[in-house]
Structures are given as structure tokens and as C-alpha cells.
Symmetry: C2
Subunit: 452 residues, 2 copies
Amino acid sequence: MPLKKDVIVVGAGMAGLRTAQLLRQQGISVEVLEARNRVGGRIYTTQVAGTAFDLGGQWVGPQQVRLLKLADELGIKTYPQYHQGTKILSWQGKQRRFRGEVPWLSPLAMYELWRLERFTKKVCSQIPPDAPWNTPEAKAWDGQTLEAWKQQFFRSKGAKLFLDIVARAVCTTEPGELSLLYFLSYLRWGNGLNTLISIPNGAQQDRFVGGVQPLCQRLADELGQHLHLETTVLSIRQTDQDVIVHTNQNEYTAQRVILAIPPILAGDISYEPALPIERHQLTKHMPMGSVIKYVAVYDRPFWREKGFSGEAFCDSGPCVTTFDGCTSTGTPALVTFSDGAVAREYAAKTPEERKDAVLKQFSELFGPEADKPVAFAEQNWLAEAWGRGCYAGVMGPGVMTAWGPSLAAPCGRIHWAGTETATQWMGYIEGALQSAERVTQEVLPMLRQAAG
Amino acid sequence: MPLKKDVIVVGAGMAGLRTAQLLRQQGISVEVLEARNRVGGRIYTTQVAGTAFDLGGQWVGPQQVRLLKLADELGIKTYPQYHQGTKILSWQGKQRRFRGEVPWLSPLAMYELWRLERFTKKVCSQIPPDAPWNTPEAKAWDGQTLEAWKQQFFRSKGAKLFLDIVARAVCTTEPGELSLLYFLSYLRWGNGLNTLISIPNGAQQDRFVGGVQPLCQRLADELGQHLHLETTVLSIRQTDQDVIVHTNQNEYTAQRVILAIPPILAGDISYEPALPIERHQLTKHMPMGSVIKYVAVYDRPFWREKGFSGEAFCDSGPCVTTFDGCTSTGTPALVTFSDGAVAREYAAKTPEERKDAVLKQFSELFGPEADKPVAFAEQNWLAEAWGRGCYAGVMGPGVMTAWGPSLAAPCGRIHWAGTETATQWMGYIEGALQSAERVTQEVLPMLRQAAG
């Protein structure tokens, strides 16, 4: 006999787990279905040389109040991301060392970056975060790529390079693939350009002791037997009375189903009746960004000893952006990312080739000690069966204005959560938490009196 | 016991059917699996007021030699698309009547259209049709939308409008969504801009007596019991020896499988082992264009009697492009298309609302007689479960250079056909036929001696 519940939540990433927690706090019966053999989704903490490292999302900023509050409730502490010392910009084969936010490029570049800051600040005040498609300039901005805009807005090579690195690091996508409207909305959702790219007072300010996944695991523990791993949703059928979720394991019946997964994965499920055209099309128009994350553990933080912060920004791969990764327990490490086109280039290589290339680039940046790590780990998010990309769903030109309004709009008994539906911090863990709050408030008044 | 064959073909559109025919002519055993309850795919001929009309692909041009030869072999005749008389351009609320290829807009616009023709001719000689991503300017062209390029290349409103109508009519997509490289490649694949938009000597020169679907039906008849309708492929598993195709009906084992379906639909199938990253990503980055096609049948061709050719090009919907649709048997009709954003706008309305809007616009264009058709039919391709769009898979910026090389590259025992894999007439029936020839040549040498 099929199990009957108030709500089925699909996806045990942060959005799904937090949604289940909030609903259960209201006395609602919930089952959570997860295709992977673990919880966390795009949050993934693993042991490298006996220490916990995040191969998925890892940072929290002071504006991300929901995530900080949840960690506090669960008794999980934060510690600052290390950023003291000299940073490196590797550009056109040459290394420039700098301190402060941005390297000195040229007078024109510095003027243009000041113009960029002014422009994005003004724009962020114009974009309604819950409906960027209603921005007065939405159509014009959505009709061009960030790349084409960049070529018109900037004359200096330095400012262009800066924006390339920002697009890759923040959206894990090339400027030539991004809708300008989507990129500007991303800045809006994340409290502006400076917040997004900064360590102190920004989105990279702090890390979690023991990694982020323990937060998800605590929420999963609360669920107990109501969490079902390795359970792939194949089809969702809506009737007048109920919604029936068919999986590779059991069938579940509920009043409402909440899909807390990226739109592109929701597109892999069969729906009866079919999803409305606009929602179906959205699932086909919002692919994921491309990123590979690497951690190298060392016996000592030799870069710190040389006065480096561990931060490096490079115009060629595999290491696009690199950071100090030393843990709160004192394990020395460097963390680096291949983003966008660089991720694609390196995804085609073997793990051995990637490791060799990362260590070679580390050595060029920080010295020959980098070549001998104690341990090395990587997560190729492009190869993940339940995601096939990170950090978030990305919109090319035209998609936001055409299909954006269906991002969070319920389809009968089907509701949507996940960071892609957030109107604050879209693409971040904080966005996942905001989406959980929104979908809970949306679903609660629609539930019939609980069966008791 | 599972049925064992040399080759399984998935999709009974023109590409799949022709592939099966070519393989069987070489003595290869083939089963064809089709999810719909009919053959033809994006070719769909139906009876309206007792006469056959094409609600899918309908035209053939003199350069489309494969399609003309196939029709000749099957004994299906063509007749010219009617184009004599006055055409209408409806723009910013005003109607302009004209004869010849293009309406007189303004001296600047005419000069700019001449520049466009020169530019596209030069470009077409530079793009390698089997690898547009290798064009010297590929990265720059793929990093911008057709819209952004248009705003820089043109100053006149008239030339901009012309390009909007071309993008919508040819690619069923807004210029703001299209990669410039994809658009220019589309022109290259289709023998240039003039060929693509022309009736005489162009892609719209002729129609088929009785419609196009009978061509598919003849190929299906040859297949007999080896064609399986309403058979949805759920998963494809490759082993060292074979490939196993699991459907909602039976399981099929073969040496090779050929997927003759658009990339976005191939993305709905589960693969074991998983598809290579670049192929999987392609399936998530190539959504279909948007189009709704309408046919109104009348008791007499009143527009011809008034000197109109039936052609009308409008900057507002539902009727973006309209043509005379009178059949070879003398049934008077008008045929019209909602493309791109207009298709999306009207897809959200009811069939009744769409019919009323089409007839109202017909009346404004051709007179009040248009308001009283004998019969009316439509095909909303956005709502089709096995396609969710037409004419073809579309590429936004960055997709061609990132994932284009995997369009036709085999993945182990899986091979790809369909018009999206064509290097001539991509998006057209001719492209489907070319892909069938290519994949047949690709697969034949890989087949073990037939079992006998």
C-alpha cells in the first residue's frame, strides 16, 4: 500500500532538509526523497588526510543571517577565512603581487572599475529581487551577454580581465554565456558586487568548523526514517485529491509535493498532467554552471610563511581562483577552483592529469613546496549524476524575461524550492534556506487538516 | 526474451525512418522505436475540412536534393508555393504593401540590408559547416547575441525589424536569445540568407501534393512490424558486447543504437554508463525553438482575388509570418505562424483565444472575409510532449564553442542522427536526411557480420 503523507519533499540538499524541518515543526507529516546516497546536495564535506574539507559550498558571510542562525541553533561554529598577506594575479604569463581588494592594473582600468562599482550599485537599486524581469531595462539587458556589454563598457584590458574572473568565480560561467540581466540580478540577490567578491564583510568571510555538511546531517538526523536515500523520483502524477510520487523504490501519496532540486533536474521527471509550457521550458533553459574544486593538504602552510595569503587569481587553468584552506584544527591546505570554460577543459582530462596540473600551477604561484602535498582530493561537479554542474542554474540571454516568472510559481500540487527560486542570495546556501521559508509559508495554508 | 537486432533506431521522424531504410538496404536488421502514436516527428500532416494540410514542416527548395530525390523515388509530387501579388508588412501599427523580395523601408535601411547581405555572404565562406566552432572568429561571435550584434551593425529601424522577422521566422527564436555564431552557422548550413528566406529558388519554393507526412508513412510501411509506436525509451545500457534499450514496452538488445531525436529529448533518457560530460551538457544546453502553426480553410481564395499573394510579415502577433496555403487540389487556405516570443505569448492562451486572434489579424490584413473560415486548425508545438518546441534545437551564446563538437560524436555504441546533427540544412527535413546518410556510413563498418 502506498504511504500517504501531508507533504513529500524531493531533494535532501539544504533547501529540502530545511523545508522538511519547518513543516514538521508545524505538525505536518513529511517524507524526504533523495536520489544520492548522502544528504547535502551541492554541500559535500569529506575527509582528506583525516580532516574534514568542503568539496562543495564552504563559506558564509555576515549578511547570510539564516545560515548563521541555523548553525548557531545546531551548535556549529564558524572561523574566519584566512586572507592576511600578499595576493597574486597571474595574467598573460606574468605574476603581479598585491595587497588590498584589487591589484593595481592601470589608471584607466582603476577608473573603469570605479565606474563598474557605481553602475552596479545603481542597477541593484533598480532590480526588483522577486521579479528582475520587471526591471525597466529588462529586455535590453536580457538581450545581450555580459561579454558583449563588457566589450562596450570597458576599454582597458585590466577591467575586462577583472570582470571575467568575477563571472567565472561567482557564476562558474563564461561572460559570453551569461545574460547581462541574470548577472546583474545575481549581484542584486547577493547584496552587490563588493559583498559577493569580498572575504571580510563579504560572502567568503567565514567557514564552518568541521565543514558545512554536518549542518545537513543534523537536519537529516531529525528526520530519521522519514528520509529515503537512493530514491530517484521517476514520475509525479496529480489527481483532484492528491499527488502521487513514483520512485525507483516506493510510491508516495501526499497532498503536496515540494521539489527542492535545480530546475534542470526537475526536467528529468515525468509529469502527469504535463507541466505548464512555461515551467517545462524553464527546465530546459537553465543549465548548471561548471566547476571542479580541488583541495591539497600539506604538512605546513609554507605560503603563509612566505607572506602569501593563499589567494591567487589566474587567467589560465586549472586554478582560476585559489584560497588558503587551512582548517580550524590547524591542517594546512590550499583550495582551488576550475570555473566555466576552464572547468570544461579540465573535466575532459583524467583525475591524475588534473592533479598534476593543479600542483604545477601551485608551485608556480607559491613555490616548489606545493608539489609535494600530503593528500589531494577533487570534486568534478560536472560529472555528478544528480546535478551535472554547480554552483547554480545559469541563464543565458532571453531566458529570464521569457521564463523567469515560472521559477517559483506552483503548478497545481507541485511547489518549488531550492536556491534557484530564492530572491535573496540565489546560488548560495543562504538562498536555499530562504526558499525553504518561502515554500513553507506557501504550502501551509493549502494543507487540509492533518489526519491526526 | 529480449529481441536482439543489429541496430535500434530511436525516433521515427524523417531522420530515423531514412536511417532504418538505408541500413535495411544493406541487409542490416533494424527495429525503430517511436514514443508518439504516429511517425513523422516534426512533420505532421492532418485533414482539415477533408484536405491534407501540413501543421509541421511543409516546404522544399531546389537545393534540397535529398528530399526531392526521396519524394521522386516514392512517387510524391511537388507544386509551387503561391507567391504572386502584393505582400504586406505590418509594422508599428501601419500596413505597407509591396512587391519583390523586400519592402522599401528607407534609403539607410536599404543600404544596411545590402551590407547585411554582403556580410553574411562573406561569413558563410568562412564558417566550416562541419565545425563552426573552428571559425577564426568563433569565440567573438559566440560570445554575443544576434540582438547585440544587430544593435551595433544597424542604425535603421527598418533593417533591425527585418532581422527580427528573419530570426523569428527561420530560427523560431528571438534575436536576444540566439548566439550570433549559431545564427550565422544556420545561414551557412542553409546556403545563405537569401536562400533561406526566399520562395522562388529558396527554401519555400515548393510544397508536396498531399503533404509531407506521406513520405514518412511510406518509409514506415516498408518497416512493417519493425516499427514500434508508443514505445518510450527510458534507459540505454552499454556492455562490452551490446547495447540494451529499455522501453515502456519491451527491452531491445543490439550492436548499436542510433538516437534520431533532438539533443534535448535525448537528455531525458537514462544512460549506463553515464554519457560523457560534454554530451550530457549539450543535451541540457540546446532547447527547442518556439512556434505555433495555424491553418484557416476558406470557401474561396479572396486574398488572391484582391491581388494579395497571401504573404504578410507582422511585428506583433499572433501572425508573425503568413503565406498562401491553397492546396494542389484547390482548397483555399491561409497558413500562419506565431514564432519566438509571440509563440510563448499565445501558447499561454486557449485554442479559442488563439483562433479569434488569428482571424482578427487575417481580417485586418486581407479583409473581413477572413473572419469566416470553413475550418481552422492549429498545432502548438510548445505543448508537444515529445518535442516541446520546433523547428530545431537552438543555441544561445557560448554553447556552440563549448559543446558543439559533441553534436554528432558517437558515445561508445550510441550514435546520433536528426537534423540537429546535420552539416547541411540543419533545422530542415533535408538536414534530417543528410544526418541519416552520415550516421549510416558511420555505423556500417562497425557492425559485426550479420547473424544470418
